[in-house]
């Protein structure tokens, strides 16, 4: 199950995570002017929030990482020597 956390001291209250999340994982705490996690279990692990967050205050754990295709065969051959 995906787990999401917001580093409260880093949040600038821009609401971008609240706006971008398609499953409404975040809510905005008006008095504190900061975003907070409403329902971590609803996170699908798209990572758009952490990609957008200007202060990089959102972290995810236990999410399925999509393995990128190899982009450069020569580089891959060098990399594979260490795997």
């Amino acid at each position: 199950m995906v787990h999401v956390e917001i580093n409260e001291s880093g949040c600038r209250g821009c609401r971008m995570c609240v706006d971008i999340c398609p499953t409404e994982v975040f809510e905005f705490d008006e008095p504190a002017r900061k975003a907070r996690v409403r329902e971590s279990e609803d996170c699908i692990g798209c990572l758009s929030c952490s990609y957008l967050c200007p202060s990089k205050s959102i972290t995810h754990s236990d999410f399925p990482v999509v393995k990128n295709f190899y982009r450069d065969l020569q580089f891959c051959r060098k990399k594979e020597a260490f795997l």
């Binding site: 398609p22 499953t23 699908i44 692990g45 798209c46 990572l47 758009s48 999509v66 295709f69 065969l73």
Partner: protein
């Protein structure tokens, strides 16, 4: 070059070609390029699912689509999703049945990212076409796959099966 390297090289070429085709079509035709991708996907869906089991339940039908993709070596893994507050996976709407799907490994997203093309373009419509074609054969109803959110690591889509329309001829 080893066999694996050769396959990877072919795959990269195919991805490059697909990405360039989609970008060129979008620039030349605009929105109609989505119809072309849709029709290409639908044809693929109809072809792949030609011998598939006919089922009525939407979740069983999705399981059938998933196994068709797997059998045909397609990297289009998806899973049904419901929020914690929701009781049922399938919702009834005015048009028929709706289910939310999360797509994680997607060869189209990989192709787009590899060459810096934007998401939600014509190539993404190929998936809509594929589901439409496959579900036509499996359930006998037409369907729509709408992109709710296109993310960096996963996409969130709404699948509607138009049960309130007359079923298509087998």
């Amino acid at each position: 070059m080893s066999e694996t390297d050769s396959l990877r090289s072919d795959l990269l070429e195919a991805m490059n070609f697909l990405g360039a085709m989609a970008a060129g079509l979008e620039e030349a035709l605009g929105d109609p390029s989505k119809s072309i991708s849709y029709l290409a996907g639908e044809k693929l869906g109809l072809q792949f699912s030609s011998g598939a089991n006919r089922v009525d339940d939407l979740q069983d039908a999705l399981q059938e689509v998933s196994s068709i993709l797997y059998k045909n070596h397609c990297l289009w893994a998806f899973e049904p999703f419901k929020k914690k507050s929701e009781k049922e996976m399938v919702h009834l709407s005015q048009e028929g049945e709706e289910i939310m799907l999360v797509f994680r490994d997607c060869m189209i997203r990989q192709s787009l990212f590899c060459y810096g093309h934007p998401q939600k373009g014509s190539l993404c419509n190929m998936m809509f076409g594929f589901f439409s074609g496959a579900l036509k054969n499996i359930t006998g109803y037409s369907s729509r796959l709408e992109i709710v959110h296109a993310g960096e690591n996963a996409c969130y889509k709404r699948l509607t099966l138009f049960r309130k329309q007359n079923p298509l001829p087998a």
